[in-house]
Symmetry: C2
Subunit: 357 residues, 2 copies
Amino acid sequence: MAKKTTSALQENKGVSKTETTNAKSIGSLKKKRKAVLSVDSLVTDLLNKNTSSLSRAITLIESKNPKHLEQATQVIKACLPHANKSIRIGITGVPGVGKSTFIEAFGKHLTAHDKRVAVLAIDPSSTITKGSILGDKTRMEALVKDKNAYIRPSASGNALGGVARKTRESIILCEAAGFDVIIIETVGVGQSETTVHSMVDFFLLLKLAGAGDELQGIKRGIIEMADAIAINKSDGDNLKRAKLAKVEFNRALHLYPEKVSGWLPKVTTCSALQNDGIDTIWELILDYVDLTTKNGFFNKKRAEQNKFWLIQTIESQLKSNFFNLDSIKKELQKQLDLIEQNKTTPFAAADYLLSLK
Amino acid sequence: MAKKTTSALQENKGVSKTETTNAKSIGSLKKKRKAVLSVDSLVTDLLNKNTSSLSRAITLIESKNPKHLEQATQVIKACLPHANKSIRIGITGVPGVGKSTFIEAFGKHLTAHDKRVAVLAIDPSSTITKGSILGDKTRMEALVKDKNAYIRPSASGNALGGVARKTRESIILCEAAGFDVIIIETVGVGQSETTVHSMVDFFLLLKLAGAGDELQGIKRGIIEMADAIAINKSDGDNLKRAKLAKVEFNRALHLYPEKVSGWLPKVTTCSALQNDGIDTIWELILDYVDLTTKNGFFNKKRAEQNKFWLIQTIESQLKSNFFNLDSIKKELQKQLDLIEQNKTTPFAAADYLLSLK
């Protein structure tokens, strides 16, 4: 039966490339039955830690085919009771900071300690540079081969909101598939850090010991989000500079108000290449989990994140529904022009546009 | 005629305290005619720099009576072609920094240089501490008596959005009434600074020379918005500390990325009490206006602010319309509970709630 349902799923997957059948048409009942069967077996396999099934389930989430999305919803629903049990870690840093090397070293350290590790990536630009997906995988050669590790390339999408949803749902599936640690990697540009920060328990910022511009080059918002800063490539000639940078970052962190988690953000140095300082970072994360579990912040933060994503999704949908209305598209620029000509105010224009809905 | 229409307006003003008449009822035509007449004469008087008319017009804006709001819309529309000609300055600082004394000294400096100055205040908390309105006026004794100055106490309202709208509309009226400089004062707490920043050309932050905690005590977002920081009460024993603080703030400002205006934020010291350094601040603002007028940023910023308020008003209205629906109020907490119990995801819950609309 497993084989039959797998092929059914593959058949469904093929549909996206041809044509979507109307679910209400004749014959849909049979197809529906097949879909249900395949979802059941997919979930069973996934819960049995089968990573191929996990990949297929994530592909359903990422599909644009309405039938697949319906199946995805069923899979997620079935996985939900088994989710929520991992430590979710966000890792960010500018290109060149050595994120892939770090994640490889960090991931290997975890699997060596009997942890199963999943790596997801958020990269809103990945729709353009699709090549980076392969790049990521080849840059994490050892981790790719590790049977206790799972690497999933960037979820792509036009809007960060869509990417966020796919990633959040992928986290649920990875957790149901028994992964203990979920790493969400993001490139150190734009809005993606805020997005990742809103879906992880611990946020790690990778930095380099720079040429004296440690403070200037930092996006302050990102520093503020970090639960730890790791100064990577702290080896060889870099060692002294890295130690100086550590002092400077420590001083910078003191300027920020205390975190509600009760956690004091830490600064540490490491060399992913030489596998140095990686253990310290993991211990630090465990300390964080320990502290925040005891003081209740860990679960409180997850509940807040859930509420954030609920409200966020509703608000962005309300906005996009409104601004995509033909009537609004037509009138918005006209109203802006009238404001520019001192013929109306932004508020009167808003009232008028809202009345068109 | 002027007298007759003025009394008509006063009659309308009285309506808010009793009962709003249905505009479609018998006799409404007569009333409508009266209202139109009174609006015309109000606008004429306002354009003739009559500050009593300005006050009455702002009262219309602030009224909760639909009839008054209709009149307010007419007044604003008539004033719009005469607006946009002032320099709008936002002034903020924590309580105790000497805002009132500063604005009094600054305002007197401007009127001495043949400028007409209007002072508006944003204070979202003023609904609670209504007494502060009188306080403000008595603390600016000399300015209150100055015929070229106009001081309007805080617009109050439950939501900052409402306060913002009233203040933005009041700016238009003040400009139409021939005021050259509009000062928007805000208390140094909460979200009001961001609101004020979005409606002024120049943002001035007042600070005190503190006890070594110059950097820690600052809300970073506010520093980032400032076009200038003035360290007030720089007199007597305070002088040395103020100069030290100036050095420290200058260093802090260098850590921020360059402003798109092309303007380098300035740090200066002043003593409003001793009328010292006030002229420097005004010259500095004129330098800013000069620079940004030449490089086009001045008008660009105003256009962006208009667009911001248009979009902002629409979005907040869409949200409040949605979340105030009875069906949503009833279901929102249920969905949050289901998320908490791992029975749904924030995204599925959002889809469900949106489907109820």
